[in-house]
């Protein structure tokens, strides 16, 4: 009897929380930013620096951007309108926090990455995130992702206007695979290197669940050579790290011009292209680079030398991209059998390219 009373008395001392109380984060990432901010700061009002954790998207560049250019004008348009094919492409901002005066920030994750940012099946999938330091110019408290500023076509479908990148990025832990990077990884199940999602060949697998992984970066030439061998490019020996999220993520301030693509999302991630019918009036080509280029068909001959007009975004746009005009075709396929438009007989007066296909 005494024993029962003691048990009940002790039981009464417990504390029920129900749905209340503090919710522990699923992961916590500490960011530490170093460097001379004043040296890289853009002129303007007092900055409101914040730190965001951004999950990356699986993205493939469009064929025109990786093919050898037809001529110098095409090379110029590619240079002005194609983003780094090895670069980090954001998909979603997961969490955001203000940057403290001592250059540190703590990012607490209360949600796991969604399946749309994880690559692989449910037995082996992974997501990567970049830690981004930015100036919250629009004051909305989160990193605003921008999109390329593409030109409109003629009447087919809604215009592809996109919000410009409103915030300025000053540091990122993962900018491109051709530079040293540190990423937050979320791994579920096994790790499938063959998925080639921002590959780190030669490095160890990310730890289960959340971890920080680092790599030294490979060159574009090494990546192309490895691809020709049917391999993934190797990370430099000794540059790999896989550690828990207890370690801080070290960042360094950089010029925003080197980082603007970190905050530029892509509507199409599978290398497909939205083709447009050229409008009757010439679009505003101010500060844009354009070129007449053959539609790439990788030597299959299916494009039959069809010419497209590619136009880059404006030189001062935060996000770069290409607009594709063809005189005949469909939105997703310029060589479609039943074209949605065909104005080869009556091209716009401003059309600068050959009307008929050219020899390959």
């Amino acid at each position: 009897m005494k024993r029962a009373v003691v048990v009940l008395a002790l039981a009464g001392c417990g504390d029920l929380s129900g749905f209340g109380g503090a919710v522990p984060p699923l992961a916590t990432v500490r960011a530490e930013v170093a460097g001379d901010f004043a040296a890289v700061r853009l002129p303007g009002k007092a900055p409101a620096l914040r730190v965001a954790l951004v999950w990356g998207a699986q993205w493939l560049t469009e064929p025109l951007c990786i093919r050898p250019p037809d001529d110098a004008s095409a090379a110029a348009a590619i240079a002005a309108g194609c983003r780094d094919p090895f670069g980090f492409v954001p998909a979603r901002v997961a969490v955001d926090a203000p940057l403290e005066a001592d250059g540190s920030a703590t990012l607490s994750l209360f949600d796991l990455p969604g399946a749309d940012v994880m690559v692989g099946d449910v037995t082996a999938r992974v997501a990567y995130a970049s830690v981004v330091v930015y100036d919250d110019l629009d004051g909305n408290g989160t990193l605003s992702l921008g999109q390329p500023n593409r030109l409109n076509g003629r009447e087919l479908g809604p215009p592809d206007t996109a919000p410009p990148a409103a915030d300025t990025v000053y540091a990122a832990s993962f900018v491109t695979m051709t530079e040293p990077d540190t990423r937050l990884a979320f791994r579920e199940g096994a790790f499938n290197l063959g998925a080639a999602f921002y590959p780190r060949s030669g490095c160890g697998d990310p730890l289960p669940s959340f971890s920080l992984v680092s790599a030294g970066g490979f060159s574009a030439a090494e990546a192309i050579a490895a691809q020709l061998r049917g391999e993934l490019p190797k990370e430099p020996p000794g540059t790999c790290r896989e550690e828990t999220t207890d370690a801080p993520v070290a960042l360094t301030y950089r010029r925003p011009a080197e980082l603007h693509e970190v905050a530029c999302e892509e509507l199409r991630t599978d290398s497909s292209i939205r083709y447009r019918e050229p409008p009757s009036d010439q679009p505003d080509m101010t500060r844009r680079t354009m070129a007449c280029a053959k539609i790439p068909d990788f030597g299959t001959g299916t494009a039959s030398g069809t010419i497209q007009l590619v136009v880059s975004g404006r030189s001062d746009d935060a996000c770069i991209g290409l607009t594709h005009y063809v005189l005949r075709g469909c939105r997703n396929d310029p060589m479609c059998a039943l074209p949605q438009w065909d104005i080869t007989a009556t091209p716009p007066t401003w059309w600068p390219c050959p009307v008929s296909a050219v020899g390959q």
Partner: protein, 199 residues
């Protein structure tokens, strides 16, 4: 082999003509009403509002014993459990309701109507699991926690009992309940559907 021989010998050596059993389980007397004694024991399915969770339906089992007819006293215990989720937590509360009861009963035909007051406590066991915590690799108290707490409680139940067969009754009861959680009075309800044995 010898087992088979024994079976065959029994089949052929001990023949009996099949006939109905004289000791029938049911007879006219089975359904005849007869008032029960002072002792009544009951048990059944229990339902109710969780004692400490803000939402949900707790289900489980309950049992009780009472002595007396017009005025009866006794004790009851019920164990009910409810699991509910928020964005962050999956919370399971298991309530062990322990009551000392006093009841006023009145016979009405084959049935009995009553009003029962129960006083005592509810021992609540709470188990909390952080949603997605296992996938995220959380361990220890960040992943799950549990706690016990005894809450003072009281129930007021209306009782309807119906004599069905011999000493067996079908009993249903239900009514409001009160408990004290963190110094605040919480209202709820309890109900039970079961059988009673009143020899």
């Amino acid at each position: 082999m010898w087992r088979i021989a024994v079976v065959i010998a029994c089949c052929f050596g001990l023949p009996r003509v099949g006939r109905a059993d004289d000791g029938t389980l049911l007879s006219d007397d089975t359904w005849r009403y007869r008032p029960g004694g002072d002792l009544a024991v009951n048990a059944g399915l229990a339902f109710g509002f969780p004692a400490a969770l803000p939402t949900g339906l707790a289900t489980g089992l309950g049992a009780g014993v009472s002595v007396g007819q017009g005025l009866a006293w006794g004790a009851r215990a019920a164990w009910v459990s409810a699991t509910e989720s928020s964005l962050a937590w999956t919370v399971t509360h298991s309530d062990l309701q322990l009551r000392v009861t006093g009841a006023v009963n009145r016979a009405a035909g084959r049935g009995t109507l009553g009003l029962r007051l129960g006083l005592g406590g509810t021992l609540v066991h709470e188990s909390r699991l952080r949603n997605q915590g296992m996938r995220a690799g959380l361990t220890g108290s960040d992943l799950e926690s549990s706690a016990y707490k005894m809450l003072p409680a009281a129930d007021l139940d209306a009782i309807v009992a119906l004599h069905v067969a011999g000493p067996w009754l079908l009993v249903t009861s239900g009514g409001p309940s009160l408990d004290v959680l963190d110094g605040k009075l919480r209202a709820g309800w309890n109900a039970q559907l079961g059988v009673a044995w009143q020899p």
